[in-house]
């Protein structure tokens, strides 16, 4: 008798397991990453090892920056709390492996969107949160004011594993200048070596140059040359193969940019619910079903704007007010002479 009872219970257990499995896989169909994130209760976000304005931790371990804000926006959307983010600092070399291996779910680390990265290595770029370009920094005392004054034998400090290394070669090669590339794994060591006089110039994205300049012994002794030698559209990246998660990250970023376009800020977002403009109402969850397709509620975008703010607020807080790049340049809205233009939320 007991023998049969045992078999019966195991049969029931098996059916139960099978049933939970099928119901679970229905939800998992929506987005495995979303499901895992909600289960864990935090968004796993890969950031830089310290780049002021983009992703930088203070002494207490609080991360700030425009790249950080993208992850906070996603956390506000999917978990309801912008602070539920676990940041993982990554070197340029480690970043893609960390994402493809599943250690992080969003890579928001001033990463340049290129064809080979998007197509080859299992990544999907979801948008651009900063339009940048590669430039050169030199010591003021060198008297160099333009890259046209570079001569054979110049030594250039940079990071390994970035598009910078490739652009640098293209630049010097096309001008027939011989140069000595000195490539370090971590940005702090690049700055230290350049600052010590090991190199004549330091090259990376211009925003990076502006940010790293603040870390130098005497920031005023260095200038960033006016030339821009490449296009560097920086943006968040997700793993290939989870299109729902990809959409959530893309539209979290788009929401921040579009909110600025319609003048919705963290301060007035709640009041905007009663706006006459249907586009504004859609952006604060007061009209339409804008969250259902992602498996989210209708106020996901309102939470982003309330907790993180719109793109302009984020830029001002992290990049302009810190003195890194007060002028927004191309990172101004398309309506104000910049090139920030995102598809409409509707």
């Amino acid at each position: 008798m007991f023998k049969y009872l045992k078999q019966l219970t195991s049969l029931v257990a098996m059916v139960a397991v099978l049933f939970t499995f099928t119901t679970e896989s229905m939800a998992a169909k929506k987005s495995k990453t979303l499901k895992n994130t909600q289960k864990k209760g935090f968004v796993r976000c890969g950031v830089s090892q310290g780049l002021p304005g983009f992703s930088n931790a203070d002494a207490a371990g609080n991360w700030t920056g425009v790249d950080v804000d993208v992850c906070r926006a996603v956390a506000a959307a999917v978990l309801g709390d912008a602070n539920k983010v676990k940041f993982t600092p990554l070197s340029a070399k480690e970043r893609f492996t960390a994402l493809t291996s599943g250690e992080i779910d969003i890579l928001s680390r001033n990463t340049t969107w290129t064809l080979s990265r998007d197509a080859d290595i299992g990544l999907t770029f979801v948008g651009v949160n900063f339009y940048d370009g590669q430039g050169f920094m030199v010591r003021k005392s060198s008297g160099i004011t333009s890259t046209s004054q570079f001569k054979n034998g110049i030594s250039a400090c940079t990071n390994i594993g970035t598009t910078t290394e490739l652009n640098m070669r293209d630049f010097f090669n096309s001008r027939g200048i011989s140069y000595e590339p000195v490539a370090f794994e971590k940005a702090d060591e690049v700055v230290a070596a350049y600052d010590a006089g090991r190199c004549d110039t330091y090259t990376t994205d211009k925003s990076g140059l502006a940010a790293q300049r603040t870390k130098m012994k005497n920031p005023d002794e260095h200038i960033v040359l006016p030339e821009t030698i490449s296009k560097e559209p920086l943006g968040p990246v997700v793993r290939q193969g989870d299109s729902v998660w990809e959409d959530i990250v893309r539209w979290s970023l788009n929401t921040m940019i579009e909110a600025e376009e319609y003048g919705i800020t963290s301060a007035n977002a709640d009041m905007m619910k009663t706006s006459d403009n249907p586009q504004i109402k859609r952006l604060v969850g007061a009209e339409g079903e804008m969250g259902a397709a992602f498996g989210l509620d209708n106020e996901w975008n309102l939470r982003i704007i309330k907790q993180v703010g719109n793109y302009g607020e984020s830029y001002k807080r992290n990049i302009a007010d810190t003195g890194i790049l007060p002028d927004r340049g191309p990172n101004e809205l398309w309506t104000k002479g910049g090139i920030l233009y995102v598809p409409p939320s509707r």
Partner: protein
Amino acid sequence: MNFKPKDIGPQLMTVIAVVLVFGFFTYNAQVNMENRGIDFGYGFLSQESSFDVQFSLIEYDGSHSYFRAYLVGLLNTILVSVIGIFFATILGVMVGIARLSPNYLINRFAAFYVEFFRNIPLLLQIFFWYFAALRALPLPQDAEAIFGISFLTIKGLFVPAFIWQNFNIFFYSIVAATIAIIVIRYQAKKLQETQGKQTPVLLISIGLILILPLISFLIGGVRLSFEVPVLKQLATTSFIYEGGVSLPPELIALALSLSLYTATFIAECVRAGIQGISKGQKEAAASIGLTPNQVLKLVVMPQALRIIIPPTTNQYLNLTKNSSLAAAIAYPDLVLVFAGTALMQTGKAIEIVSITMFTYLSLSIAISLFMNWYNNKIAIQEK
């Protein structure tokens, strides 16, 4: 041997378990890579690398292939390892002997050196030599000339290049001298064994290695001139030396820290080896009338080497593997060039990491095989 089933059983299961674990990892990697649309393959090795490397022993620039970049990194790793092993051995043997010196000052100083350098993590030492010590070096325009021809600056060590005429004749003279020395040593040993006569082999050897090349200069038409580095201005305050040979500060800092660190361990091996020879051996040798030098050369060292070689082999292997810390200070070794830049540009993580691991494994095994061969050669020959 005859196996019983109960012997084979557990072993078979171990083999199956190992195969299954490896199979699982391979399968898992395959499935995940397929899901994320990542291709697996080594075809990228023939593609154009399109990045430059600071320092290379072979001709290389971004128009060469990734495979060539791999060779550049490998040769740089071998270069720094060879330099490191060379200086670590010399310094290690000196310090090891100094630790046994009856002179209190020398003895204590050697002990202090060993304890100090072996107890600080190597990475910190590399950072120290690169960022603290080298930073104190002058800029190229402020550098004082060493012997009027070399310059040690923050941008590296600039030394004159040798420009040879009729180098092949000089090379032959060296080969001839080497062969002559081998023959004379052999004859001297025979003479000693058959007639008990001693020949001043060392003096003759030094004479040969000096005189034969000298003759090549005098009558062989060999000429040597130097290309001295010349200061060149790049901008108001930036300068560089042109001409001659330049050694990057990264190489100097890495070789220096690897040598200083590993020498402490080799010194301990040497001390252990010498102390492992019983006092009776030395006393017996002295009692049959050998001089202290002969005691060391003929009795102590041949026996001590048998104790010294195996642990020293480990240190050589460690040094080679530790050279991969180069990435921290921009010395373009295998890890920085291939497992760093090349990995990033291609995204071929599994392929590149597997190649790099296999390469270090091969290097280590090659060193082991050589040291084992040497160890067997000096081991007691049972007759």
